[in-house]
Symmetry: C2
Subunit: 100 residues, 2 copies
DNA sequence: TTTTTATTTCGCAAAAATACGAAATGAATA
DNA sequence: TATTCATTTCGTATTTTTGCGAAATAAAAA
């Protein structure tokens, strides 16, 4: 029984998928991909979760590399990271199309 | 503070993403999308996990609607569900391209 | 300097995910 | 009928995720 580990690509793709595996994070990325940047507080008003919970979801997306926060006192402006977003899109596309 | 729930689309997309949020499930879908069907045991030999764990991951994909199992005694043949796979592809594409 | 504002971190709890080996299942074969 | 084979389910343990409110932080405004 051979036990190879996963490829870097598989791990990376699973990582991106995990970042998108919660409805609120889908919604966050939809908001950000439309308008590029957003203030955390403005988003919070439209979401059915506590602000501290929102903060955690934003961290999740940040850890996955999909967004970045820019401190713009007293607010924090969150922006999509276009390079990672494009990479995720491309990897997902190839994954679904099977053209490796 | 308005608290709307998520759209059906957001929930569905997150559900598909969750199904793909583990490297072994990425690998499983890659195998299945290439050859359409596969016997569970054949897959197990190439994976770094116990057979019972593989079974759980297959269930996860089945629950998400991405695959189905066909009992072909004494083996079980797993096949990709092309309609759901296509739906996931399309939803993911629209999500990344922002064209709603 | 105190207060206000925006956000995160902390502390906690509940639920879900991941993993394994042992036992159960269900059908074919000896 | 007993055995074998492929796979799942069970029981269990560990880790991760999700969520909240309270407290901490950090900078601007009063």
């Amino acid at each position: 029984m051979i036990k190879p580990k996963y490829t870097e690509r598989q791990i990376k793709l699973a990582r991106y998928a995990k970042a998108l595996s919660h409805p609120v994070r889908i919604q966050l990325m939809e908001i950000l991909s439309k308008q590029s940047c957003c203030y955390s507080g403005d988003i919070a008003d439209d979401l059915p979760i506590a602000r501290s919970t929102l903060s955690q979801h934003l961290s999740e997306l940040k850890d996955a590399g999909l967004i970045q926060g820019e401190f713009n006192p007293p607010k924090i402006k969150y922006c999509i990271k276009r390079d990672a977003w494009e990479e995720a899109r491309q990897m997902m596309k190839e994954f679904f199309e099977g053209d490796k």
